[in-house]
């Protein structure tokens, strides 16, 4: 599928169209209201916009879905970020006594950025990605998704493609949103295995006993390692790369063997079999150093940290930050993700049937008509399947909100019936 050539200069024309007819506002609002279980949850949420010419505005908040739509259509943000749910409406934070305005809740989030792997990928660097290094994102998603669900017991995870060189994870469970800074940082550190900056050569150190989490993660990495690292990245091919691998764990006898043996797969096998002593995990450490997800703990730690919103547009690539369907993860191709130019173009393509429907539905009120039109609109574009992923995610959460509401009304019912019983006893 071709993606219409995207030109950042067209953003000022494309964005208004996107926000008027394609952005899935009703699902978005439904998500951030979380079933209305907590009062004012949506109203107290902070959004930040990056407008044309890099003008950045914080503490945006909205009282209704309609207001959100109108404002976004008016301001036409180039980037939209989502922040925390505060104690008061963010747009009125200046009116609140200093110290009283606090960030209360926010989803637990993770940001995996391909640039953090620059020291271990040879195909690309910085903002570039390709199908070879994309495997790193697949590995990251599989490892983290499993751990967040099985170890931490979270259920409602939304994985989103950032639009250029990474992925984000939004953990939306009630318990996750209520986590403290210390808890978020503990979760992020539990999930971190690759430690150290420029100056650290050996970034993964394993010792006995090996925690079950590490074993789970290794089994994911092992599935991809040979194809990804030995073949695609060719880490045991060139001398320079071999040296880098081996300096992490200096093995002189390997260097000698490598002088004669040029086949990378054989070199790898030799490395693995050279580990004789127990308690040494060089092969595993190398695999993890080259493949294990690298998180930025600072992104996950802060309750008030702002993160790019799903369905936001990436100004440099034009790609929409779309939800990723984990069931189709192996076939997800970041280069097939629709750009704003593509979906706007798809929108303009005429379809016969709809002209008639329009006449009939003119009698509805404006907002309903607008929504119905919008739903028809994005369904005509490549955005449709991604909104479906979002819908499924919302449905699963909605079931849990129902449970919460029942619990709350159940409490009311019980206390009411106790009251009635008491009254009846009093009057006998």
């Amino acid at each position: 599928m071709p993606t219409s050539d995207y030109d950042p200069a067209c953003l000022p024309d494309l964005l208004p169209l996107y926000y008027r007819r394609l952005f899935p506002f009703s699902q978005y609002y439904r998500w951030l209201s979380y079933g209305g279980v907590s009062k004012n949850y949506f109203q107290n949420r902070e959004f930040s916009f990056t407008l044309k010419d890099d003008i950045y505005v914080r503490y945006q908040s909205f009282t209704t879905q309609n207001e959100l739509e109108k404002e976004m259509q008016k301001m036409v943000p180039y980037k939209v970020d989502i922040g925390a749910v505060y104690s008061h409406r963010p747009s009125q934070h200046n009116a609140v006594k200093s110290g009283a305005f606090q960030a209360l809740e926010k989803e637990l989030v993770f940001d995996i950025d391909m640039t953090d792997y620059d020291d271990v990928r040879r195909c690309c660097s910085a903002a570039d990605i390709c199908s070879k290094c994309w495997t790193l994102m697949i590995i990251a998603i599989r490892i983290l998704d499993r751990a967040l669900r099985e170890d931490f017991g979270f259920h409602h995870l939304l994985w989103v493609y950032s639009g250029r060189r990474g992925v984000h994870c939004w953990v939306c469970d009630d318990a996750a949103r209520k986590l403290s800074v210390a808890a978020r940082s503990a979760v992020a550190e539990y999930l971190s295995l690759v430690k150290g900056g420029e100056e650290t050569l050996r970034k993964v150190v394993l010792s006995d006993p090996i925690h079950p989490f590490i074993n789970h993660s290794l089994s994911v990495v092992e599935r991809y390692f040979q194809q990804y690292a030995i073949v695609d990245q060719d880490i045991l091919g060139s001398k320079e790369s071999v040296d880098k691998v081996l300096t992490t764990h200096i093995k002189k006898d390997l260097t000698i063997y490598y002088q004669d043996e040029k086949n990378p797969m054989k070199r790898w096998d030799r490395l693995c079999s050279s580990i004789k002593k127990g308690g040494q995990y060089f092969d595993k450490e190398i695999m993890l150093q080259y493949c294990y997800p690298r998180l930025d703990v600072n992104v996950s730690k802060g309750v008030n940290h702002l993160l790019k919103s799903p369905f936001s547009v990436h100004p440099k690539t034009g790609r929409i930050s779309v939800p990723i369907d984990l069931k189709e993860l192996n076939t997800f191709d970041p280069f097939e993700v629709p750009t704003i130019s593509l979906i706007c173009e798809e929108l303009e393509r005429p379809t016969a049937d709809e002209a008639e429907e329009d006449d009939v539905k003119d009698k509805e009120n404006e907002q309903e008509a607008g929504e119905r039109r919008r739903i028809r609109d994005y369904k005509r574009t490549s955005l449709a399947k991604y909104v479906k992923v979002f819908d499924r995610f919302l449905e699963a959460m909605a079931r849990s909100w129902k449970g919460e509401m029942l619990k709350k009304s159940g409490e009311l019912e019980t206390s009411f019936s106790v009251f009635l019983t008491f009254m009846s006893f009093t009057y006998t």
């Binding site: 150290g196 900056g197 100056e199 050569l201 925690h211």
Partner: protein
Amino acid sequence: MQDSKKKRKKLIGNFQNDLYDQCLQFYGQPPLENISLTEFETFAVERLKLLKTVENVGVSCGKSSEQYTKKLDAEISSLNFPHRGGISEYEKRRKDHISHFILRLAYCQTEDLRRWFIQQEMDLFRYRFNCLHSKHKTDFLHKNNLKYETVSAEEKKNLKDKLIASSYGLSGTKVEEHDVYKVPFQDALDLVRTRKVYLLAGNAYIPHHEIVTIVLNDFRTRLSKALAMTARSLPAVQSDERLQPLLSHLSHAYVGQDYSIQKNIGKISLEQIDALSGKSFPLCMRHLHKALRENHHLRHGGRMQYGLFLKGIGLTLEQALQFWRSEFVKGKVDADKFDKAYAYSVRHMFGKEGKRTDYTPYSCMKVILSNPPSQGDYHGCPFRHSDPELLKQKLQNYKVSPSGINQILELVKGMHYQLACQKYFELTHNVEDAGFSLNHPNQYFTESQKLLNGGRDIKKEVDMSQRSQENPASVTHPSQANSKQAHEEMGDLDSFFQDE
């Protein structure tokens, strides 16, 4: 045993007998008796001395090392605090109880004081809890109504291998014989953070011998809440003229130099920075400066650590903006982008944006313990965060003698990062003894300038055994010089705080 118990009952009464029948307590109930002002003062000062020792010993030795145990044992005994359950412990336990509550009054007032107090009380509690026999630990849990859910025998069997693989020092027999507790992971953050516990479906499975971590968490939460409440009722206490001077002395004795007030503002010119980086910057800042010059860029962590340090040595906001802009512009950032994206953060550092906090330069403790560098970062402490081989090369490039390098590497191996930096100071300045205890990069700079300019052209600093920052630093080895300064500045009270 029976006789002394009877005796106690006669003298004090049942209520207090119950209160002090355990060596360790949660400090849930405040003391109800009357005490003399002398006792009030003595108790407070002695506990403060104890907590100070807890802090110092904790940094210079590992918290579970033999040295730590020996030193703390000695200090607790010499200060007459309850220890390992002896027979005539009643007086000591009473002192423990009362002194804790007095210090709450002194340390509840600011975020930093609270943090410091909680940290030391927790370390002390952990130490004393670990000294208890297993049975006494269980007794303690029961007495304090800490009911943690235990895992059924069947579940234990199913999870045995996973439990053994997740917890240090756990064997198959231990799993079978002792209880394993199941708590929500939010209640076991220290174990989760270091991955020293098995997690399943949001629960942490804690073996009996690790239960101290959970208890500590509980302790911290309770103490934190209590301090907040104490702060609210403090005005009433402070209006008592007898107490007010003592309480303020107690909390001020441990607020050290934080370099938030810039001395020598504007005395440094930008042209001097390159030269100064070689002569007077600690290794971390020298490293950051070099990376900035080479890459014409630094990431957020590096900008914060280095930017605040520069503020601390006396750069004005205008100078800082010029400095960063001129460097970034040589790289991929044009002047416009700099003004939009980075200038804000420089002004923020100087307290001119946002909530207008005037951020203080990072202490060594903060640099060592928080925000470790990752790929593409140059901040952190080189002695802590660099690979020893690379550190060695760097020191060689800086012309440090081989024997000096070895000494430094030994200290790094022993995790004495600040001492290693101090050694670096001594070697690069050609002195036998630095003459100060390093715990702040700006202190390094000030001391270096003092030495190179042959005299005291910088105002005398106050006692530096404490930082008023997120992670209060501590003295890695007490030095005579500091004690003397503290004595001069603080008056009589300080005679209690002499180190050795």
